[in-house]
């Protein structure tokens, strides 16, 4: 193949490398106004009075808006389309603030500096209310919150119960039972581009919204709900995205930015600074999970019992989906004959949570893989062998939704990964008794490919031959930086005999693109890729038809190759064909295809890590890493590897450093800047080897499956398991901060 399976650079690499790509924060518009927020300093309080006089007196201030002079429509910022059923508990400016960082007021001014200065001169009086800052799901939760606001405060927001087989019988006949509690931290996306939105009035009473988002249609639906206006009054376009990882999946600034543009008739930009991006957007939900595993002496899992609580923060957003999502991913990894699961999502008066690379998978697989590792150790069994004995096989059906897992190649990842890592030898090597101890650990994981069957999982793609002889792809696409545009261009180019660079992709625009769910749920390559492949196939047929006329050749004689339409002994370029059609007054061919998924296969991975622990300081260094991924087929191996390298970086941070914890006494987020939220930087990254298992998935484009989210999911448990191997500890609270490591060692020596 000429394009698929090739290491082709990003089609937009030059714009990014030269700094010419204009992100939303780089745009200037005549008459642009700037907004700045006043955020709640209280965890839970009724706003008694807002006095904007001080701010309004500042020269250059246009106005101040808060709950008394803005629409009070309830909305849910996580909806994907108008009318989607969701608990609508957010307001642009709530009369009762529910967390530190909740929005109290916005100042609009001629410059950002004026707006930020004026914000400090707004006087607000609060009446404090009881705040719940820890996620213990008790009745007291609901009582404390009741009567505060007639609006909804159900707690837990969502509960999911699932039983499969006979768990009690499984535990009764088990040779070994392991039980442990695993905590995963609240963590932050840390996209380098802070949240930003630009909006301006358009003719006909419309408002244009230009923002880095994961779905222009989600933005349109949320803003329409918040403003209480028809969706078609909003024209949403996707700005280039300087990283998202789920952090920009929910519109946060967009409703207010659009409102202010509408109210003032002028363009408005609101740009969060780094502190605000930490404290007033979204994080990954912290979780507490208890798991019991019943095993036979040969390592077979006989049954499993899981009880997970996720703290979704002060607003529902999409947090109610987390318990179900975690269950979905849990049951797709191992063939477990008896399963009992309870998942709960609870409110707290803390920053709301949302999507972050894996949506529940990092939490549930950290729980499952750390506990299974402890079980293996207790039984004296090899962790790879235990996993290989239980992992699902190709074509297996999962027990919750009854879906086929497709060509599930987790076992290949385990075997090939273990061999390449030299697992058996390294695992048995002594970790040493000195200050520095080494250990190796591993973990497996699975993740989904798209939203089927939960949503109408469809993408519509249109491909058109332009008069210049290039191909234009119209589809509501949002490349978050992963290279999905390039991947889709490769797929189209492969079918059409072109180069990826010949495919021109128009950014997502609600006025010109058909509806799409957007970039989420690992659906771009698998779902949108198949839509593009099928649209390209239809366009190729149309080009063969017209090309046959131009060349006076039969359809069967025509080949599309090297940018040309070829017949025996003669050929024309795509540009020549377009010109030939134009002079005859004929439209250039185009093709539209809607691909509606009817499957959701699993992507699988096994990761292997070697760590060195300094027992004096508690500091952990990851020294070597290997990632084996069941990818179906890599459309672009270079971009696939890029996803895995970056996923390992984020996962290592999740395991070792990153903690956006909220102080349980004050409600304040401790990690509110890069100085107080430690990321993995270049010097901390280990050497990484990547193995791609390319056995094909029949329902994916050219056999491809997703990689973006699963790349980060096995990392944290692999690293934690390596540390537990090195130290013979049972560390289960992430991140493994030095003090936790030292505590565990202290306990180990005292007991």
């Amino acid at each position: 193949m000429e394009q698929v399976s090739q290491r082709i650079p990003l089609i937009d690499a030059a714009e990014k490398l030269t700094g010419r790509l204009r992100f939303a924060a780089d745009m200037t518009l005549p008459g642009l106004l700037h907004g700045a927020f006043l955020f709640s300093p209280r965890a839970h309080a009724r706003i008694v009075e807002v006095d904007p006089a001080g701010a309004l007196a500042v020269s250059g201030v246009i106005g101040v808006w808060w709950h008394a002079n803005t629409p009070q429509n309830s909305y849910n910022s996580s909806i994907w389309f108008a009318g989607q059923k969701a608990l609508a508990d957010e307001r642009m400016f709530p009369p009762v603030v529910r967390h530190m960082g909740d929005r109290v007021a916005v100042v609009l001014a001629e410059t950002e500096a004026i707006a930020r200065a004026a914000v400090t001169r707004i006087v607000v009086s609060f009446e404090d209310l009881p705040a719940i800052l820890t996620p213990e799901p008790t009745v007291a939760h609901a009582v404390a919150a009741a009567g505060v606001e007639e609006a909804i405060y159900p707690d837990p927001v969502e509960q999911v119960h699932f039983t499969h087989g006979d768990p009690d019988a499984a535990f009764a006949r088990a040779d070994h039972v392991t039980e442990a509690v695993v905590y995963t931290p609240r963590s932050h996306h840390c996209a380098i581009e802070p949240h930003v939105c630009v909006a301006w009035p358009e003719p006909g009473g419309r408002v244009a919204i230009h923002s880095p988002c994961q779905s222009v249609y989600a933005v349109q639906a949320v803003v329409a709900q918040a403003l209480g206006i028809a969706a078609d009054r909003l024209h949403v376009t996707k700005a280039p995205i300087g990283g998202s990882f789920g952090g920009k999946a929910e519109p946060i600034l967009e409703p207010i930015c659009a409102l202010l543009a509408e109210r003032t008739g002028r363009p408005v930009r609101i740009a969060f600074n780094r502190h605000e991006t930490f404290t007033a957007t979204r994080t990954r939900a912290a979780s507490r999970g208890k798991m019991r595993i019943a095993l036979a002496c040969d390592g077979r899992i006989l049954g499993r019992e899981t009880d997970v609580t996720v703290d979704i923060g002060a607003y529902c957003t999409g947090g109610n989906y987390l318990p179900g999502s975690m269950l979905q991913r849990l049951v797709r990894l191992y063939a477990v004959p008896a399963e009992r699961y309870r998942g709960r999502a609870v409110y707290t008066n803390t920053l709301p949570t949302g999507a972050f690379r894996g949506y529940g998978s990092p939490q549930i697989h950290a729980l499952g893989e750390i506990v299974l590792d402890l079980a293996s150790r207790e039984m004296g069994l090899d962790p790879v062998a235990v996993r290989a004995r239980n992992i699902v096989t190709p074509g297996a059906l999962e027990p919750w939704q009854g879906l086929s897992l497709g060509n599930a190649r987790g076992a290949d990842c385990l075997h090939r990964g273990a061999e390449a890592f030299d697992w058996t030898r390294r695992r048995s090597a002594a970790s040493g008794r000195g200050r520095f101890r080494t250990g190796v650990g591993m973990a497996a994981a699975t993740h989904i490919n798209g939203c089927f069957p939960g949503e109408d999982e469809a993408t519509t793609a249109t491909l058109r031959l332009t008069p210049e002889g290039r191909i234009e792809l119209t589809c509501a696409l949002h490349d978050l930086g992963c290279g999905s545009d390039t991947t889709l261009a490769q797929i189209a180019a492969e079918v059409l005999g072109l180069r990826a660079a010949d495919i021109r992709i128009t950014p997502a625009d609600t006025d010109t693109c058909p509806y799409d769910l957007g970039t989420r749920a690992s659906r771009m390559t698998y779902i949108a890729g198949e839509a593009v492949r099928l649209a390209a196939t239809a366009l190729a047929a149309a080009i063969v038809d017209t090309g046959g006329q131009a060349l006076n050749a039969a359809r069967s004689e025509i080949r599309l190759r090297g940018g040309q339409i070829e017949a025996p002994h003669r050929a024309i370029t795509f540009a020549d064909l377009a010109a030939w059609l134009s002079v005859r007054g004929t439209d250039t061919p185009s093709a539209t295809h809607t691909h509606r998924a009817t499957a959701n296969p699993g992507s699988y991975a096994a990761h292997f890590a070697e760590v060195e622990v300094d027992t004096l300081t508690g500091h952990i260094r990851v020294r070597d890493y290997l990632a084996a991924h069941d990818i179906g087929r890599a459309i672009n191996p270079m971009l696939v590897e890029g996803q895995i390298y970056g996923g390992i970086q984020i996962g290592m941070g999740y395991a070792l450093y990153e903690d956006a914890a909220v102080d349980p006494k004050t409600g304040r987020m401790r990690a509110d800047s890069f100085t107080r939220y430690t990321l993995v930087n270049a010097p901390e990254m280990p050497p990484i080897r990547i193995l791609l298992v390319e056995e094909g998935e029949a329902t994916g484009p050219f056999g491809a499956k997703a990689v973006g989210e699963i790349a980060t999911i096995p990392v944290a448990p692999a690293v934690v398991n390596a540390v537990n191997h090195a130290l013979e500890t049972r560390l289960t609270e992430l991140p493994l901060l030095p003090e936790r490591v030292l505590d565990a060692l202290g306990q180990g020596s005292s007991s």
Partner: protein, 157 residues
């Protein structure tokens, strides 16, 4: 205050608040938006530029500190829209993803390569320690910088 700045080979004479951030001035007054403001506290490195050939964080640099100094931003590295060899190495190695940190990382790498053409991998990693990239895991970036160092060495630069 009247300041003289030498930016990307041009002399700019400008009345400016000497205590304003250089990054803000370059972006907002001169429209040099290749550099980004990702944190404004010297942590993310998205605003990295070269001052007299050495990488600095423009967000922690006040305008008066740039008076009479040679400033190079990503826009000044090559001809408009044409990749320099270093940038081409990044593209070929897959060392760019979302692109927001990329101009800053290019400037840090360029600064390193102007001080040494034989950096070890570890030296490259430490030279990039002032830049955060959340997408790539740095692996491909380190490779691209190493490849460019080797190319310049061979070319006898």
């Amino acid at each position: 205050m009247k300041l003289t700045l030498r930016i990307n080979g041009s002399v700019v004479e400008q009345d400016a608040d000497p205590l304003a951030r250089l990054s803000e001035f370059l972006r907002q007054v001169l429209g040099l938006t290749g550099l980004k403001e990702g944190c404004c506290e010297g942590e993310c490195g998205a605003c990295t530029i070269l001052m007299d050939g050495a990488p600095v964080h423009a967000c922690l640099t006040l305008i008066f500190q740039a008076h009479e100094r040679e400033i190079t931003t990503v826009e000044g590295l090559g001809d408009a829209g044409v990749l320099t060899d270093l940038q081409a190495q990044f593209a070929g190695a897959g060392a760019v993803q979302c692109g927001y940190c990329t101009p800053g990382i290019i400037m840090s790498a360029e600064g390193l390569l102007r001080s040494t053409l034989t950096p070890s991998d570890e030296e490259i990693r430490h030279a990039l320690a002032g830049n955060i990239c959340r997408c790539t895991g740095f692996e491909t970036i380190v490779r691209a910088v190493a490849a460019e160092a080797a190319r310049r060495c061979e070319a006898g630069c």
